[in-house]
Amino acid sequence: MNRIKELFNNKRRDILTIYFTAGFPTLNSTIEIIKELDNSEVDMIEIGIPFSDPMADGVIIQESNQAALKNGISIERLFLQLKDIRDVTHKPMVLMGYFNPIMQYGAEKFCSVARKCGVDGIIIPDLPLREYQAIYRPFFEANDLAICFLITPETTEERLRKIDEVNTGFIYLVTSPGVTGRQVQFGHAQTEALRKVQLLHLKNPVLAGFGISNNEGYKIVCKYVNGGIIGSGFISALNNGKQSISENIHQFIKSIKS
């Protein structure tokens, strides 16, 4: 069974997903970070595929993408790194990447190699729902890969229902307008937006992301949806100079879960 489905079958609340950029801070950090995350309270691992022009990302992820590309990461390299990853972790793994590199690699091949590595789900923020349905869906289905679409508090109910119909993993709720890496203050407007989504009782589980970087934000979103996704906050924490990456990771996860 797809590990994302399995996860949500067993656990519906407080799902913590960590996003990091493949090939950052060093080319071979990918595996090291997955090992540490496996050995933590994290429920799901989201691996970002670097892109030269990440249009929905703020400065932290832009810079980690640039650095990773300089380190020599590519989809090809990443798949080589992930070849034996299922000996390392049994946690669900999701790949997140912009569409152009995936298109150049070949979407069909991408799905089949991802599957062979043991990847469970894919997020492509700039792949439209219509094109997914019209062209790419069979590649995902043939490889039992979950597709996870983004929604926002402004997404109309009609469109939400349509996305919920097509979506097969979890739905990624962007908590407020803006790119990744902002410090969102979870005030009334944000919690109302979360509540609105909660009341729709979507078929897919919902994880909230963009702008959650600490324990406070994480706790709030967990009250309304199935859990939260943390990216930029985690990436910044990796590079806390004095300690090892391993120490930084565990300290960060502990601070979120405390």
Binding site: D53, M55, N100, D126, P177
Partner: protein
Amino acid sequence: MKYEIDEFGYYGEFGGAYIPELLYNNLHQLKAAYKEIATDETFIGTLNELLTDYVGRPSPLYYAKRLSEHYQTNIYLKREDLNHTGAHKINNTIGQIFLAQRMRKKRIIAETGAGQHGVATATVCALMGLECIVYMGATDIERQQPNVDRMQLLGARVVPVHSGSQTLKDATNEAIRDWIAHPDDTHYIIGSVVGPDPYPEIVTHFQSIIGKEIAIQLAEKTGNKNPTAIIACVGGGSNAIGAFHHFLSDEKVALYAVEGSGEGIYSGRTAATMVQGKPGIIHGSKTYLMQDGDGQITEPYCISAGLDYPGIGPLHAHLFREKRVHYMHATDDDALTAAYQLMKFEGIIPALESAHAFAALKKIKFLQTDTVVINLSGRGDKDLTTYVNNKQQ
């Protein structure tokens, strides 16, 4: 229709809206507003009045006698350089500012390369009393300083962009990020026939006035509305589409689009997308773009900031596939030589972008009886430093 956009926003296999869900509502709203005004008589009347009295349209079609003698053919210049603000860019911004008003947007953002689109946006924002923020690569701020001053005088805030090659592509990324963060109160006035659907269609619509005027003016001057050929430079492709659009279905009219090849198409320092690019996604559109084997967008180079872009509008990609338009390229040196020649023969200092179109004259053999229209997309005030420095060398 062979060259029209389909219901999903594609020209053939190119176009679409490959954007994060965060912009879905904005594009949806924009498309609806555009459909409304496209047939609204009051809007069309107001727009036409401003195009006449404020922009100075129709722009003249000028018979360039000495240049024609030199090349042994008949060359007409479509004088977009004489528009208010000095380029074709204002045809689009003045249309889009009405769209922004209709959608009740209070804040306008734009990207700019050469600064011409930034100036044209700052101008219409001043005209309508709207806040204006222009993203511009740090490299371009340096090489197009006069336009930075103009934008600031007109009340715009110019935000330097330091990512990537610090040019047009990076400024566009930053404008898109701003829009993602301000979906409610902001309209993004994109500067060329690029970006996600419905932008290529909207900008094509507002720029196609260039070709319509050419047909009327040429009929008056020669008795035949169709020229033998039209030549235009291509960055994102808006002045070229503007000049070509009216003539697309007249297959007898040869169309030439000239990209900037920088230091040469194989030099690694080029912006000749149709030579070096392949299909992919850039700024929300499926089109040709320059990229490496891993699908990372490569950094272009061209002496002209307005052509220094690794992509091209999706309609151009389609016209290239369909072989309706000939895609050519000119190096920095070709463009400079052509610019000095235009200054010498006609007393006109062209924008560096437009100079690339003139460089094609040396490469195409025209007959003495042919009629050739060159779209002179802008004037060269912003490029004086470059012209002066290169002249001394």
